[in-house]
Structures are given as C-alpha cells and as structure tokens.
C-alpha cells in the first residue's frame, strides 16, 4: 500500500494524538478480527490456517520425525515461505531466524515434552506458508503456529521408555494418538507512533509508524526474543525508553486474553 504525503501526514497526526485515533476505529490494544481453522491437512500431524480481516492469510503444517536427541539438539525447526518472496529474501530469512529463536528448546519450548525414550525424541518440523500479507506477518504466523501445535496429535508410544541398554527402535500404536502439549510462545507486534503504542498495526499504520517492537510471550510472562523492528523504510525514528516499558506493560496486560481466546478454539 502506498499513501500520498498528505495521507501519511493526516494518518500520523491522528495516530500520534492523545488518545490515538486509528483509521479502523480500534482501541490501541485491540486486534483485528481473525479466523482460524485447525486440523485440515490430512497428511500432517497438525495444521492451521489463519485469515486476518485485511486478507492476510497463512497456513502452518506440523510434521514430526523420530530422531536421536543426543545427535540433534534442536527439536523444533521452523521453515517460512512467503508468497512472492525468494527463499533468501531478507524478510523471509529474518522471520525464519526470529521464529527459530522463539521456539528454541529451553527458553521457548520445553523439549522434554517431545522426548519419547531415553534415546529418542520427536523432532517437530513447522512449515509456514504465508499466502498473502499486507502488514508485518510475524504475529499472524505465531498465532497460526500456536494453534497448529495445539491441534497436533502424535503417535502413541507402546515400546519401553528405557532403551539405552537394549538396541530397539520406538514402536507406536496403530491408531491411538497423543495430543502434543508444549505450550508454544506467542509473538506480538507493536507500532510506535509519536508517544503512542499500538498493538497489531495494520498496513497503513505500519507505513507511518516511527518504529516497531516485537515482543514474545510464553507461560504467562514476557520472554526473549524482544526486538525493535523498522516497519517501513521512510519514517523510522528513535523512540524514548519509557515507550519500551509501556509496550511491555501493554503486552503483559492483554496477552493473557489472546492466549485464552486461542485456547478456546
């Protein structure tokens, strides 16, 4: 979306005023409505499709593989594909790297939940396809990953847990599946406009924003990675340190509501 200089100036002034006036009439902490469908891909262990009200759409598929966790350290791997972007495009690689850090075992996800036996674990492959996106897609992607992982069912183990002494591969039940329970982190994106913080900026708001913040939320508290991110090329400016705290406080206040609504799917 490209706005004229006059449109940008008008939009900036209304967003930077107190209280801020957003073009679609939302409150500073209010999200755009989203639609989520889960478990619609028959060939993957879990899947979700998320559609935002501006037409942004993203599909996530979860697949799994049994690996020796003494050899493979990272048990979650994210791969992002954005329609219309090359695989080595800056935005694609940046989002891939960020999401891999978000879901890194240890800080983000409890990897013991993926352990099958003393030797083997499930490795989860998260494949993200962004079909269309108008604003920064990372928040949308993380909601999709969250709902996909929460709808993931993995085969049930029937062989013994202790397999260090005996050389045997894990054996699984023919029909029974177990729900994956790993409580993945969420990522929120905020726009800094003047002295205001706005959650979930739309495309036109991103275009005039002075700066942006990416904040992760896991297990009821703010966690790393936290980043500042330029939402456009032309209007980026510095911001006061108190806005950082204000943004964190905003996420802290409203993230539980988002988690609750995603869990009620």
């Amino acid at each position: 979306m490209s706005l004229s200089v006059a449109e940008k100036s008008y939009l900036y002034d209304s967003l930077a005023s107190t209280p801020s006036i957003r073009p679609d009439g939302r409150l500073p902490h209010q999200f755009r409505p989203i639609e989520i469908f889960t478990d619609f891909l028959p060939s993957s262990n879990g899947s979700s499709r998320i559609i935002a009200s501006d037409g942004s759409e993203c599909i996530v598929s979860i697949k799994s593989k049994v690996v020796d966790h003494h050899v493979e350290n990272e048990l979650l791997q994210v791969d992002v594909d954005i329609a219309g972007q090359r695989d080595d495009a800056l935005v694609v690689e940046t989002i891939t790297s960020l999401l891999n850090k978000v879901l890194k075992s240890g800080s983000g996800v409890d990897s013991s939940m993926l352990q099958l036996t003393k030797k083997y674990s499930f490795k989860i492959f998260v494949d993200v396809l962004v079909i269309s996106s108008h604003s920064h897609p990372v928040s949308l992607i993380s909601f999709a990953i969250y709902s996909a992982l929460n709808s993931t069912y993995l085969p049930k183990l029937i062989s013994a847990f202790d397999d260090l002494e005996v050389e045997e591969l894990p054996t699984f039940h023919d029909y029974d599946m177990v729900k994956l329970d790993i409580n993945p982190p969420l990522v929120f994106i905020l726009a800094v406009v003047g002295n205001n913080m706005l959650l979930d900026p739309a495309a036109n708001e991103s275009e005039v924003a002075n700066n942006g913040l990416i904040i992760s939320w896991s297990n009821g508290k703010i966690t790393s990675p936290i980043r500042s991110v330029a939402l456009n090329d032309s209007n980026v400016k510095s911001f006061k340190p108190h806005l950082l705290k204000q943004g964190l406080a905003m996420v802290e206040k409203y993230a539980p509501d988002v988690v609750r609504s995603l869990e009620n799917l």
Binding site: V91, T94, N100, S224, S228
Partner: protein
Amino acid sequence: MNVQDRRRLLGPGAAKPMAFSNTTTHVPEKKSTDLTPKGNESEQELSLHTGFIENCNGSALVEARSLGHQTSLISAVYGPRSIRGSFTSQGTISIQLKNGLLEKYNTNELKEVSSFLMGIFNSVVNLSRYPKSGIDIFVYLTYDKDLTNNPQDDDSQSKMTSSQISSLIPHCITSITLALADAGIELVDMAGAGEANGTVVSFIKNGEEIVGFWKDDGDDEDLLECLDRCKEQYNRYRDLMISCLMNQET
C-alpha cells in the same frame, strides 16, 4: 571525454571538465585505544581505524579485545550513489553482513542482524538529504574468536553462539557509524550501542532516545539494569568514536 550525455544540458563546446587539485593526500590511520577498564566483564580494549580502504567512500575497522574474546570487523560504505529506476524522495540503505574466515554464524542469523541494523541506520542517517540515491554498507566479520580454548560440549557452544552474536552487534554499530562519518554522510547523531546479558540497546542523543533494541536471552526482569549498563557502554564507545574522528581531522 567523448561520451555524449544526451540527457543533460551540456556546456559550450570548448568547455573542459573540471579538474581539482590533487586532494588525495593519504589520510593517516588513527588509532585510539580504550584503557579504562570498568569491572571484570567490561574490561575491553577497543581500537578504531578509519579510512583505510581506498576504493570505497568510507571505511572503518573495529577491533575489540577482552579477557577471553577477540573480535575484529571491517565496514565499508559505498555511496551515496545514484539508483536506477523511478524517483525516490529519500535515500535507501542496504547493509550486508558477511562471515569471515570462521564460518561461525548461519546466514539466517546474519540476515536478521543486518535487517536490525538497517532499521537502526534508517533512523540515524538523514535520508531526506539523499534523494534518488542508495548507500550500500558491507560489514565483514574478519575475526571473532574465543581466546580460551576450553573443550566445550555442544550444548554450551550453541548457547555461546547465540549470546555472541548479540555481543557483536554493538561493534557493528560502532564501525558502521564511523564508516558513515568517514564517508561524509549526514547523520542525525552518532549512534552507538552497549550490550549486557544478551541485551543490546542502541542509543542516540546522549542516551535519551533508543534507535534499536535486541534481546536474545532471559525475560524482562533485568531490563532496567541492562538499559543502564548499555547506556554506560554507549557513552564510552561514543566518546571513543568522537576522539577517533577528531584525531583524524587534525
């Protein structure tokens, strides 16, 4: 010059191209070294050089050496140079980070850092002064190594790598700022950054405003402490940058 430029109004036929007197006097490489250790972990020697690559517009070398770690990186600035295509009212910046001999960081992570740095320098460089032009910045991580060669298991090593890339970012910012200043590109202020516990904060305006924030480890509990420690480091680095540039002037 026999090439006829049809797009511009040319001078009279007998006009000769302007020739300047030889101004390519060799700029002496200046070095300033910080010798003021503060506490154990910030005991870091920093040495800065500018203007040593001839075919670019500005360049800077930053070498940092602390007790167990040595880093050195080179930044080169090409531009402002004209871009093809339609008119743009502002300059555009591109930053590329490259691994040196030690292929330590994967390209995903380097691209993430370079897009973070682009966000910072988009707000620091006075881009409206450079319409229809591009500024290309290349950062080459020449050397980044632990001096203590402890045999470490894989887990701690992967943890080290993630914390190290954040310890690298302040030096990237210092070297890019110096190289931009060396190229004579107009900046809003000297940008600098500090790092504490995997948190990098980049400041301008004497630490009153933030241009970049990067946190890889931990939660938000030690945020205020990190902000203060980063600001301290920023002040040190900025003073060093200024003294380096002032030395060069004389």
